[in-house]
């Protein structure tokens, strides 16, 4: 009897200790995560802070997070230093058109892979997966020569048109997976009702896989908005620059002596991405998780 009680007590103590340890663990986890979160977010705060400072305050030691005098001049002046309105417009054109291309082209092709068979369909799908492995850098130079022969240098076309040819291997792969989750009976029922294959794709299946299309769209927007190398290679004249290129140009000409303006303009170009992220967060997470799945 007594022994039993003693055992009970020790197990109880053991449990209490264990819970204590767990609480301490949890608190430590929170502290580390919060510190890390601060490290990740602080550069942005620094960017915002610098963007609102007057020049004399931007270049001071010790630096201050909250400016003494807030100014909007950096945004206005910085924006006018170069033709940023034009760059924004070009970036929007490229991003929107390339994303539309990726969404429709990839879903079109993915529908083909998910719903129809042919003697070579398996081989062709292996080729889709294979192109994901192929490194961009070997394609870069011949593709440049190709576009130069087409007379497309210094136009936005090389940044847009390729998206319409399949919309990227990963997107095809991702959307095919989603099409496969939809029962074929749905197609057959629509067929009996007189729908042709394109109507089935466009009117019935596309609305169902809308979340997956959103995933493709948000990732494509983020990619094209940030893309630096393609514009750098293909665009020469100022009037065709995208924001990424314009920012780099601005930094080379004035940026190092006008950091408050550089930060102001940079901040403006980042804001659309932040908005996109907060609206489409779950689609981003889905896309990233899917990209891990293929491994």
């Amino acid at each position: 009897m007594q022994v039993n009680v003693a055992i009970k007590e020790t197990t109880l103590n053991h449990y209490k200790n264990k819970r204590k340890v767990e609480t301490i663990n949890l608190i430590i986890s929170y502290i580390i995560l919060s510190l890390l979160a601060l490290v990740f977010i602080f550069p942005f705060l620094w960017m915002i802070s610098t963007a609102f400072k007057v020049p004399s305050e931007a270049y001071t030691i010790p630096p201050k997070l909250i400016p003494k005098t807030f100014t909007l001049d950096n945004f206005i002046q910085g924006w006018q230093y170069a033709d940023f309105t034009r760059y924004t417009w070009n970036t929007i054109i490229v991003t929107v058109l390339a994303t539309l291309g990726a969404v429709f082209s990839a879903s079109f092709v993915a529908y083909g892979f998910a719903r129809f068979k042919s003697r070579y369909s398996n081989i062709l799908f292996t080729i889709v997966l294979g192109t994901m492995m192929l490194p961009n850098q070997v394609l870069l130079i011949p593709t440049y020569i190709l576009f130069s022969k087409l007379g497309w240098l210094d136009t936005l076309k090389p940044l847009i048109v390729p998206s319409y040819f399949g919309g990227g291997a990963f997107n095809i792969f991702l959307l095919r997976q989603f099409f496969k989750t939809i029962p074929v009976e749905l197609d057959q029922a629509a067929k009996i009702d007189g729908a042709n294959s394109f109507q089935i794709y466009f009117k019935i299946l596309l609305p169902i896989i809308k979340p997956a299309l959103m995933t493709v769209a948000v990732m494509s927007v983020a990619f094209h908005w940030n893309d630096f190398m393609t514009p750098l290679i293909y665009l020469n004249s100022d009037e065709h620059f995208t924001l990424a290129l314009g920012l780099q140009f601005f930094q080379n000409s004035y940026g190092s002596s006008q950091v408050q303006m550089l930060m102001a303009v940079s901040l403006i170009t980042v804001i659309p991405l932040l908005i996109l992220f907060f609206i489409g967060q779950r689609y981003f997470v889905q896309g990233i998780t899917m990209s891990g799945l293929k491994g």
């Binding site: 949890l26 986890s29 995560l33 890390l36 990740f40 550069p43 620094w46 960017m47 931007a58 270049y59 001071t60 030691i61 010790p62 630096p63 082209s105 079109f108 083909g112 892979f113 719903r115 129809f116 068979k117 042919s118 062709l124 192109t131 192929l134 490194p135 961009n136 850098q137 070997v138 394609l139 870069l140 130079i141 011949p142 440049y144 020569i145 190709l146 390729p162 319409y164 040819f165 399949g166 294959s197 794709y201 940030n226 630096f228 190398m229 990424a244 290129l245 920012l247 930094q251 940026g255 930060m263 940079s266 980042v270 996109l276 992220f277 981003f284 990233i288 990209s291 891990g292 491994g295």
Partner: protein
């Protein structure tokens, strides 16, 4: 009956090619043709327009014997890969481990915070880091001064420019964190429960359950990290233009300069293929080692 069947098969096959035709065309124009073309370019001295003469193996010879920047840029890129890939794997695993605690509240907020730098990673935030690394007024050297350390001139110091770019890269590991976290969340809860009954400590659970079962994800991240790391371009191009004194001059910059600055398309194609082969060999080696450390369910 049989005839009807083959007819519908034919019809299905036609539809298959109809719908996949954008990809097939794109594959021929933007993959197959460029691949063949760039292999041909290796043996020519083609200029920006693609015209040139056959030069045999001269380009390959030049890379290995007549171009000191080939080795320099390769060395810099290897330095970047060897330091940044393992670092980002370890850091993202540790962060994912912390986030995977089922009692952590506000996980979404943390996840968002870690992910935002990755989404915004472009020229704008690269310029921001240029400012953070500013030797005189920058944030990092200010923080270091709290600890009595006089920070280096980061981007204009040959020894510190590459570490600076690596540090900046660590800031954008959000996607690796999320992939790792997804991998950790796939680990069945029962495993931890039965380990707890057996009296296993948390550390034991991490080293005996979490880490082994996360190896497929780590392997994926490792391979993607190596492939991406070898192609590092924008950050050094924007921050340092490859300087000071070629300290951050990466292989991709060398390809870019030869192709689009000097118009040596033949030589640049040769460099691109050498890079591809290097990445391929390293990936194959990593893949070979995977059977010793990657856990597969079957």
């Amino acid at each position: 009956m049989k005839k009807k069947n083959t007819n519908s098969e034919k019809r299905e096959s036609r539809l298959f090619y109809l719908y996949t035709s954008p990809f097939i065309l794109g594959f021929i124009i933007f993959t197959l043709y460029p691949v063949v073309y760039s292999i041909i370019l290796i043996f020519t001295n083609a200029d920006m327009t693609g015209t040139g003469e056959f030069v045999g193996l001269a380009n390959i010879k030049k890379a290995f014997t007549g171009d000191p920047l080939f080795y320099k840029s390769l060395k810099n890129t290897l330095y970047f890969v060897v330091v940044s890939v393992p670092l980002s794997l370890v850091v993202s695993f540790l962060v994912a481990l912390l986030l995977n605690h089922k009692k952590i509240k506000g996980m979404g907020i943390f996840r968002t915070t870690f992910y935002i730098p990755y989404i915004t990673a472009g020229v704008a935030v690269t310029l921001l880091w240029g400012w953070i690394f500013n030797a005189q007024y920058g944030l990092i050297n200010y923080v270091l001064s709290f600890f009595g350390i006089t920070g280096p001139n980061w981007l204009s110091d040959g020894n510190w420019a590459m570490p600076a770019i690596i540090i900046m890269g660590l800031w954008t590991i959000g996607n690796t964190i999320i992939i790792t976290l997804a991998g950790l969340q796939d680990i069945p809860e029962q495993l931890y429960e039965s380990a707890a009954i057996d009296g296993a400590s948390r550390l034991t659970m991490v080293t005996r359950i979490t880490l082994p079962l996360a190896t497929p994800t780590l392997f994926f991240n490792l391979v993607m990290g190596i492939i991406g790391g070898f192609q590092v371009f924008m950050q050094p191009f924007v921050l340092t233009q490859g300087g000071p004194n070629y300290a951050t001059y990466t292989y991709m910059m060398h390809i870019y300069n030869n192709a689009f600055k000097y118009g040596e398309m033949g030589y640049a194609s040769t460099l691109a293929w050498i890079l591809f082969i290097i990445i391929l060999i390293i990936t194959l080696i990593v893949n070979r080692t995977s059977k010793y450390w990657v856990y597969y369910e079957n």
